[in-house]
Amino acid sequence: MAVKVYGAAYASCARRVLACLIEKGVDFEIIPVDLLSGEQKKPEFLKLQPFGMVPVIQDGDFTLYESRAIIRCYAQKYADQGTDLLGKTLEERATVEQWLEVEGQNFNPHIYTLVLQLLYFPKMGVPQDEKLIRESEEKLGKVLDVYEERLSKSKYLGGDFFSLADLTHLPFTQYLVNDIGKEYLIKHREHVKRWWEDISNRPSWKKVLQL
Protein backbone atom coordinates (compact mmCIF):
# COMPACT_ATOMS: atom_id res chain seq x y z
CA MET A 1 0.00 0.00 0.00
CA ALA A 2 1.42 3.38 -1.00
CA VAL A 3 2.44 5.90 1.65
CA LYS A 4 0.12 8.93 1.53
CA VAL A 5 2.06 12.21 1.54
CA TYR A 6 -0.14 15.19 2.40
CA GLY A 7 1.31 18.39 1.00
CA ALA A 8 2.19 19.91 -2.33
CA ALA A 9 4.76 18.51 -4.76
CA TYR A 10 6.28 21.98 -5.17
CA ALA A 11 6.66 22.59 -1.42
CA SER A 12 10.19 22.27 -0.06
CA CYS A 13 9.51 20.17 3.00
CA ALA A 14 7.33 17.75 1.05
CA ARG A 15 10.13 17.46 -1.53
CA ARG A 16 12.52 16.44 1.23
CA VAL A 17 10.23 13.49 1.99
CA LEU A 18 9.56 12.61 -1.66
CA ALA A 19 13.29 12.52 -2.48
CA CYS A 20 13.83 10.07 0.37
CA LEU A 21 10.92 7.81 -0.62
CA ILE A 22 12.19 7.69 -4.21
CA GLU A 23 15.76 6.89 -3.07
CA LYS A 24 14.36 4.04 -0.97
CA GLY A 25 12.03 2.75 -3.72
CA VAL A 26 8.92 3.25 -1.56
CA ASP A 27 5.60 3.79 -3.36
CA PHE A 28 3.76 6.96 -2.47
CA GLU A 29 0.70 8.98 -3.36
CA ILE A 30 0.61 12.77 -3.03
CA ILE A 31 -2.60 14.05 -1.44
CA PRO A 32 -2.67 17.76 -2.29
CA VAL A 33 -3.29 20.25 0.49
CA ASP A 34 -4.39 23.67 -0.74
CA LEU A 35 -1.87 25.87 1.08
CA LEU A 36 -2.99 29.08 -0.63
CA SER A 37 -6.52 28.75 0.72
CA GLY A 38 -5.22 27.79 4.19
CA GLU A 39 -6.48 24.19 4.13
CA GLN A 40 -3.64 23.26 6.48
CA LYS A 41 -5.13 25.46 9.24
CA LYS A 42 -8.61 23.94 9.06
CA PRO A 43 -9.90 21.56 11.79
CA GLU A 44 -9.90 18.48 9.52
CA PHE A 45 -6.22 18.89 8.73
CA LEU A 46 -5.25 19.86 12.27
CA LYS A 47 -6.38 16.39 13.37
CA LEU A 48 -3.52 15.01 11.23
CA GLN A 49 -0.92 17.71 11.96
CA PRO A 50 -1.79 19.85 15.00
CA PHE A 51 0.80 22.55 14.15
CA GLY A 52 -1.01 23.15 10.82
CA MET A 53 2.03 22.41 8.68
CA VAL A 54 2.87 20.16 5.77
CA PRO A 55 3.94 17.51 5.04
CA VAL A 56 2.31 14.69 7.00
CA ILE A 57 2.41 11.05 5.99
CA GLN A 58 -0.02 8.23 6.55
CA ASP A 59 1.19 4.68 6.18
CA GLY A 60 -1.72 2.41 6.91
CA ASP A 61 -2.87 3.63 10.32
CA PHE A 62 0.51 5.18 11.18
CA THR A 63 0.70 8.98 10.93
CA LEU A 64 3.92 10.98 11.11
CA TYR A 65 4.90 14.63 10.61
CA GLU A 66 8.08 16.77 10.54
CA SER A 67 9.92 16.08 7.27
CA ARG A 68 13.25 15.30 8.96
CA ALA A 69 11.55 12.76 11.25
CA ILE A 70 9.82 11.19 8.24
CA ILE A 71 13.05 10.78 6.29
CA ARG A 72 14.80 9.23 9.31
CA CYS A 73 11.88 6.79 9.71
CA TYR A 74 11.89 5.59 6.11
CA ALA A 75 15.68 5.49 5.82
CA GLN A 76 15.68 3.16 8.84
CA LYS A 77 12.50 1.17 8.07
CA TYR A 78 13.79 0.34 4.59
CA ALA A 79 17.47 0.11 5.54
CA ASP A 80 17.86 -2.98 3.39
CA GLN A 81 16.40 -1.59 0.19
CA GLY A 82 17.30 1.29 -2.12
CA THR A 83 20.11 3.74 -1.33
CA ASP A 84 21.77 3.47 2.08
CA LEU A 85 21.04 6.90 3.55
CA LEU A 86 22.23 6.36 7.13
CA GLY A 87 25.58 4.60 6.92
CA LYS A 88 26.61 1.13 8.01
CA THR A 89 28.01 1.73 11.48
CA LEU A 90 26.94 3.64 14.58
CA GLU A 91 29.72 6.17 13.99
CA GLU A 92 28.70 6.69 10.35
CA ARG A 93 25.10 7.27 11.39
CA ALA A 94 26.21 9.71 14.11
CA THR A 95 28.11 11.79 11.54
CA VAL A 96 25.08 11.77 9.22
CA GLU A 97 22.91 12.91 12.17
CA GLN A 98 25.40 15.67 12.98
CA TRP A 99 25.15 17.21 9.50
CA LEU A 100 21.38 16.65 9.39
CA GLU A 101 21.22 18.74 12.58
CA VAL A 102 23.57 21.34 11.05
CA GLU A 103 21.10 21.70 8.18
CA GLY A 104 18.17 22.05 10.55
CA GLN A 105 19.87 24.46 12.96
CA ASN A 106 22.47 26.45 11.01
CA PHE A 107 21.60 26.25 7.31
CA ASN A 108 17.82 26.21 7.21
CA PRO A 109 16.98 29.38 9.18
CA HIS A 110 18.96 31.65 6.82
CA ILE A 111 18.04 29.97 3.53
CA TYR A 112 14.38 29.79 4.57
CA THR A 113 14.40 33.55 5.26
CA LEU A 114 15.97 34.26 1.86
CA VAL A 115 13.45 32.08 -0.01
CA LEU A 116 10.53 33.57 1.91
CA GLN A 117 11.70 37.15 1.36
CA LEU A 118 12.85 36.83 -2.26
CA LEU A 119 10.49 34.24 -3.73
CA TYR A 120 7.29 34.20 -1.72
CA PHE A 121 6.81 37.74 -0.41
CA PRO A 122 6.77 39.31 -3.89
CA LYS A 123 4.08 36.79 -4.95
CA MET A 124 2.09 37.56 -1.81
CA GLY A 125 2.51 41.33 -2.15
CA VAL A 126 4.33 41.48 1.20
CA PRO A 127 7.14 44.10 1.38
CA GLN A 128 10.68 42.74 1.61
CA ASP A 129 13.05 43.48 4.49
CA GLU A 130 16.34 44.51 2.84
CA LYS A 131 18.31 44.45 6.09
CA LEU A 132 17.11 40.96 6.94
CA ILE A 133 17.95 39.73 3.43
CA ARG A 134 21.49 41.13 3.68
CA GLU A 135 22.02 39.63 7.13
CA SER A 136 20.68 36.21 6.12
CA GLU A 137 22.85 36.18 3.01
CA GLU A 138 25.93 37.00 5.08
CA LYS A 139 25.14 34.37 7.71
CA LEU A 140 24.43 31.73 5.07
CA GLY A 141 27.76 32.60 3.44
CA LYS A 142 29.59 31.96 6.73
CA VAL A 143 27.84 28.59 7.12
CA LEU A 144 28.77 27.67 3.55
CA ASP A 145 32.43 28.54 4.29
CA VAL A 146 32.36 25.72 6.86
CA TYR A 147 30.71 23.42 4.29
CA GLU A 148 33.45 24.34 1.78
CA GLU A 149 36.12 23.23 4.25
CA ARG A 150 34.22 20.02 5.08
CA LEU A 151 33.58 19.15 1.44
CA SER A 152 37.22 19.73 0.55
CA LYS A 153 37.99 16.71 2.74
CA SER A 154 34.86 14.61 2.31
CA LYS A 155 32.92 13.72 -0.83
CA TYR A 156 29.59 14.17 0.94
CA LEU A 157 28.66 15.85 4.22
CA GLY A 158 28.21 12.64 6.19
CA GLY A 159 31.25 10.90 4.73
CA ASP A 160 32.11 9.23 1.43
CA PHE A 161 28.50 8.20 0.75
CA PHE A 162 25.35 10.19 -0.17
CA SER A 163 23.11 10.28 2.89
CA LEU A 164 20.17 12.04 4.55
CA ALA A 165 22.66 14.78 5.50
CA ASP A 166 23.01 15.74 1.83
CA LEU A 167 19.42 14.94 0.79
CA THR A 168 17.96 17.29 3.38
CA HIS A 169 19.65 20.25 1.63
CA LEU A 170 18.11 19.60 -1.79
CA PRO A 171 14.76 21.43 -1.61
CA PHE A 172 15.80 24.90 -0.42
CA THR A 173 19.14 24.91 -2.25
CA GLN A 174 17.19 24.21 -5.45
CA TYR A 175 15.34 27.51 -4.93
CA LEU A 176 18.54 29.34 -3.93
CA VAL A 177 20.36 28.31 -7.09
CA ASN A 178 17.48 28.55 -9.57
CA ASP A 179 14.84 30.99 -8.42
CA ILE A 180 16.17 33.84 -6.29
CA GLY A 181 19.37 34.90 -8.01
CA LYS A 182 21.71 33.85 -5.17
CA GLU A 183 23.42 30.96 -6.96
CA TYR A 184 26.82 32.62 -6.40
CA LEU A 185 26.68 31.44 -2.77
CA ILE A 186 26.99 27.88 -4.10
CA LYS A 187 28.84 28.40 -7.38
CA HIS A 188 31.66 30.58 -6.03
CA ARG A 189 32.68 27.84 -3.60
CA GLU A 190 34.56 25.13 -5.51
CA HIS A 191 33.76 22.13 -3.31
CA VAL A 192 30.21 23.21 -2.44
CA LYS A 193 29.60 23.66 -6.18
CA ARG A 194 30.97 20.17 -6.93
CA TRP A 195 28.80 18.68 -4.17
CA TRP A 196 25.66 20.55 -5.33
CA GLU A 197 26.12 19.41 -8.92
CA ASP A 198 26.49 15.82 -7.75
CA ILE A 199 23.47 15.67 -5.46
CA SER A 200 21.11 17.74 -7.61
CA ASN A 201 21.79 15.50 -10.60
CA ARG A 202 20.69 12.36 -8.84
CA PRO A 203 17.78 10.70 -10.71
CA SER A 204 15.64 10.85 -7.55
CA TRP A 205 15.92 14.65 -7.40
CA LYS A 206 15.15 15.06 -11.07
CA LYS A 207 12.06 12.91 -10.54
CA VAL A 208 10.90 15.05 -7.61
CA LEU A 209 11.14 18.18 -9.75
CA GLN A 210 8.89 16.58 -12.36
CA LEU A 211 6.09 15.64 -9.95
Binding site: P50, F62, L64, C73, R93, T95, R150
Partner: protein, 225 residues
Protein backbone atom coordinates in the same frame (compact mmCIF):
# COMPACT_ATOMS: atom_id res chain seq x y z
CA UNK B 1 41.84 7.15 34.47
CA UNK B 2 40.14 9.92 32.50
CA UNK B 3 36.61 9.19 31.29
CA UNK B 4 36.58 8.49 27.54
CA UNK B 5 33.58 10.81 27.15
CA UNK B 6 34.33 14.52 27.07
CA UNK B 7 31.85 17.36 26.68
CA UNK B 8 33.24 20.77 25.79
CA UNK B 9 31.08 23.71 26.83
CA UNK B 10 29.69 25.63 29.79
CA UNK B 11 26.92 23.87 31.74
CA UNK B 12 24.87 27.07 31.56
CA UNK B 13 24.62 26.80 27.76
CA UNK B 14 21.23 25.30 26.89
CA UNK B 15 22.66 23.04 24.19
CA UNK B 16 25.45 21.82 26.49
CA UNK B 17 22.87 21.16 29.23
CA UNK B 18 20.88 19.04 26.77
CA UNK B 19 23.87 16.73 26.33
CA UNK B 20 24.60 16.65 30.07
CA UNK B 21 20.99 15.65 30.77
CA UNK B 22 21.27 12.78 28.27
CA UNK B 23 24.58 11.56 29.74
CA UNK B 24 23.20 11.68 33.30
CA UNK B 25 19.96 9.90 32.28
CA UNK B 26 22.17 7.23 30.70
CA UNK B 27 24.28 7.07 33.90
CA UNK B 28 27.53 7.58 32.04
CA UNK B 29 30.79 8.96 33.35
CA UNK B 30 32.15 11.98 31.54
CA UNK B 31 34.45 14.97 31.87
CA UNK B 32 33.00 18.43 31.35
CA UNK B 33 35.69 20.64 29.82
CA UNK B 34 34.76 24.30 30.35
CA UNK B 35 34.74 26.72 27.41
CA UNK B 36 34.88 30.37 28.42
CA UNK B 37 32.56 32.07 25.98
CA UNK B 38 32.92 35.45 27.66
CA UNK B 39 36.57 35.35 26.58
CA UNK B 40 35.68 34.14 23.06
CA UNK B 41 37.27 30.75 23.60
CA UNK B 42 34.67 29.13 21.33
CA UNK B 43 35.87 31.21 18.38
CA UNK B 44 39.55 30.37 18.80
CA UNK B 45 41.34 28.00 16.39
CA UNK B 46 41.77 25.18 18.95
CA UNK B 47 38.02 25.05 19.56
CA UNK B 48 37.11 25.53 15.89
CA UNK B 49 39.12 22.37 15.27
CA UNK B 50 36.43 20.37 17.09
CA UNK B 51 33.43 22.58 16.28
CA UNK B 52 33.92 24.50 13.04
CA UNK B 53 30.81 26.68 13.54
CA UNK B 54 32.24 28.00 16.83
CA UNK B 55 29.26 26.80 18.88
CA UNK B 56 28.96 24.77 22.06
CA UNK B 57 28.89 21.91 22.85
CA UNK B 58 31.45 19.65 21.23
CA UNK B 59 31.72 16.00 22.25
CA UNK B 60 34.31 13.27 22.13
CA UNK B 61 34.03 9.59 22.77
CA UNK B 62 36.65 6.90 22.20
CA UNK B 63 36.35 6.75 18.43
CA UNK B 64 34.33 9.77 17.48
CA UNK B 65 34.17 13.55 17.67
CA UNK B 66 30.73 15.14 17.29
CA UNK B 67 28.81 18.40 17.53
CA UNK B 68 25.13 19.47 17.48
CA UNK B 69 23.53 18.58 20.83
CA UNK B 70 20.62 16.59 19.40
CA UNK B 71 22.97 14.49 17.21
CA UNK B 72 25.21 13.90 20.25
CA UNK B 73 22.18 12.78 22.28
CA UNK B 74 21.07 10.35 19.56
CA UNK B 75 24.58 8.87 19.45
CA UNK B 76 24.71 8.47 23.24
CA UNK B 77 21.36 6.67 23.27
CA UNK B 78 22.20 4.44 20.29
CA UNK B 79 25.61 3.50 21.62
CA UNK B 80 24.91 3.05 25.30
CA UNK B 81 21.36 1.70 25.59
CA UNK B 82 21.56 -1.89 26.78
CA UNK B 83 20.31 -4.38 24.21
CA UNK B 84 16.72 -5.33 24.89
CA UNK B 85 16.14 -2.30 27.14
CA UNK B 86 13.85 0.58 26.22
CA UNK B 87 16.12 3.61 25.90
CA UNK B 88 15.31 7.26 25.30
CA UNK B 89 14.67 6.52 21.60
CA UNK B 90 12.31 3.59 22.14
CA UNK B 91 12.71 0.02 21.05
CA UNK B 92 11.77 -0.17 17.39
CA UNK B 93 11.39 1.89 14.22
CA UNK B 94 7.82 3.21 14.52
CA UNK B 95 8.20 4.02 18.22
CA UNK B 96 11.43 5.83 17.43
CA UNK B 97 9.70 7.69 14.58
CA UNK B 98 7.13 9.18 16.99
CA UNK B 99 9.92 10.27 19.32
CA UNK B 100 11.82 11.78 16.35
CA UNK B 101 8.65 13.65 15.37
CA UNK B 102 8.49 15.38 18.76
CA UNK B 103 12.26 15.91 18.81
CA UNK B 104 11.87 17.72 15.48
CA UNK B 105 8.88 19.66 16.85
CA UNK B 106 11.17 20.80 19.68
CA UNK B 107 13.96 21.61 17.24
CA UNK B 108 11.87 23.47 14.64
CA UNK B 109 8.83 24.86 16.49
CA UNK B 110 9.71 25.13 20.21
CA UNK B 111 13.42 25.95 20.08
CA UNK B 112 13.47 29.08 17.88
CA UNK B 113 10.98 31.18 19.87
CA UNK B 114 12.03 29.80 23.29
CA UNK B 115 15.74 30.36 22.55
CA UNK B 116 15.06 33.92 21.46
CA UNK B 117 13.12 34.58 24.68
CA UNK B 118 15.81 32.94 26.86
CA UNK B 119 18.43 35.17 25.26
CA UNK B 120 16.35 38.36 25.45
CA UNK B 121 14.95 37.84 28.96
CA UNK B 122 17.57 35.79 30.82
CA UNK B 123 20.91 36.48 29.15
CA UNK B 124 20.76 39.96 27.58
CA UNK B 125 20.23 41.70 30.95
CA UNK B 126 23.19 39.81 32.48
CA UNK B 127 25.35 40.71 29.50
CA UNK B 128 24.14 44.34 29.69
CA UNK B 129 22.72 44.11 26.16
CA UNK B 130 19.64 46.06 25.08
CA UNK B 131 16.46 44.02 24.86
CA UNK B 132 14.26 44.15 21.75
CA UNK B 133 10.60 44.48 22.79
CA UNK B 134 9.31 43.62 19.29
CA UNK B 135 11.32 40.43 19.18
CA UNK B 136 10.12 39.51 22.67
CA UNK B 137 6.47 40.07 21.73
CA UNK B 138 6.73 38.16 18.44
CA UNK B 139 8.42 35.17 20.01
CA UNK B 140 6.10 35.07 22.98
CA UNK B 141 3.16 34.90 20.56
CA UNK B 142 4.84 32.12 18.56
CA UNK B 143 5.73 30.12 21.66
CA UNK B 144 2.17 30.47 23.01
CA UNK B 145 0.77 28.92 19.84
CA UNK B 146 3.23 26.02 20.08
CA UNK B 147 2.40 25.47 23.76
CA UNK B 148 -1.31 25.38 22.89
CA UNK B 149 -0.57 22.36 20.70
CA UNK B 150 1.48 20.81 23.51
CA UNK B 151 -1.39 21.44 25.96
CA UNK B 152 -3.73 19.45 23.74
CA UNK B 153 -1.23 16.65 23.20
CA UNK B 154 -0.32 16.36 26.88
CA UNK B 155 -4.01 16.08 27.72
CA UNK B 156 -4.02 12.82 25.73
CA UNK B 157 -0.54 11.56 26.55
CA UNK B 158 1.62 11.51 29.68
CA UNK B 159 4.77 12.43 27.75
CA UNK B 160 5.10 13.90 24.27
CA UNK B 161 5.68 10.65 22.39
CA UNK B 162 3.59 8.39 24.62
CA UNK B 163 3.65 6.79 28.07
CA UNK B 164 7.42 6.91 28.51
CA UNK B 165 9.90 9.75 29.10
CA UNK B 166 12.02 10.03 25.94
CA UNK B 167 14.65 12.17 24.29
CA UNK B 168 11.79 14.29 22.91
CA UNK B 169 10.82 15.44 26.43
CA UNK B 170 14.46 15.77 27.56
CA UNK B 171 15.28 18.06 24.68
CA UNK B 172 12.88 20.70 26.06
CA UNK B 173 14.42 20.87 29.54
CA UNK B 174 17.18 23.48 29.05
CA UNK B 175 15.16 26.30 27.44
CA UNK B 176 12.09 25.69 29.62
CA UNK B 177 14.25 25.72 32.77
CA UNK B 178 15.46 29.25 32.03
CA UNK B 179 12.07 30.56 30.96
CA UNK B 180 10.36 29.24 34.07
CA UNK B 181 13.09 30.01 36.61
CA UNK B 182 15.08 32.95 35.24
CA UNK B 183 12.42 35.14 33.56
CA UNK B 184 8.99 36.50 34.44
CA UNK B 185 7.34 34.41 31.69
CA UNK B 186 6.88 31.19 33.69
CA UNK B 187 3.12 31.52 33.19
CA UNK B 188 3.56 30.45 29.55
CA UNK B 189 4.04 26.97 31.02
CA UNK B 190 2.43 27.11 34.45
CA UNK B 191 -0.90 28.51 33.25
CA UNK B 192 -1.38 25.53 30.94
CA UNK B 193 -2.60 22.65 33.13
CA UNK B 194 -1.20 19.72 31.12
CA UNK B 195 2.03 21.47 30.13
CA UNK B 196 2.56 22.37 33.79
CA UNK B 197 1.94 18.77 34.91
CA UNK B 198 4.44 17.54 32.29
CA UNK B 199 7.00 20.17 33.26
CA UNK B 200 6.83 19.28 36.95
CA UNK B 201 7.36 15.64 36.09
CA UNK B 202 10.26 15.99 33.63
CA UNK B 203 12.11 18.69 35.58
CA UNK B 204 11.74 16.65 38.78
CA UNK B 205 13.89 13.86 37.39
CA UNK B 206 17.12 13.30 39.34
CA UNK B 207 19.27 13.68 36.23
CA UNK B 208 17.81 17.14 35.46
CA UNK B 209 18.22 18.32 39.05
CA UNK B 210 21.89 17.37 38.75
CA UNK B 211 22.28 19.42 35.56
CA UNK B 212 20.71 22.43 37.28
CA UNK B 213 23.17 21.95 40.15
CA UNK B 214 26.04 21.88 37.64
CA UNK B 215 24.73 25.11 36.08
CA UNK B 216 24.75 26.79 39.47
CA UNK B 217 28.22 25.57 40.49
CA UNK B 218 30.78 28.31 39.92
CA UNK B 219 33.82 27.28 37.93
CA UNK B 220 37.09 26.95 39.89
CA UNK B 221 39.04 30.20 39.68
CA UNK B 222 41.92 30.23 37.19
CA UNK B 223 44.40 30.74 40.00
CA UNK B 224 43.79 27.26 41.40
CA UNK B 225 45.38 24.24 39.76
Amino acid sequence: MAAPIKVFGPAMSTATARVLACLLESQLQFDLVPVDMSKGQHKKPEFLGIQPFGQVPAFQDEHISLFESRAICRYIVDKYTEKGKRGLLGMETLERASIEQWLEAESQSFNPPSSALVFQLAFAPRMKLKQDPNLIAQNEAKLSKVLDVYEQRLGDSRFLAGDEFTLADLSHLPNAQYLINATDRAALFTSRKNVNRWWEEISGRTSWKKVVEMQQTPLPSSSST
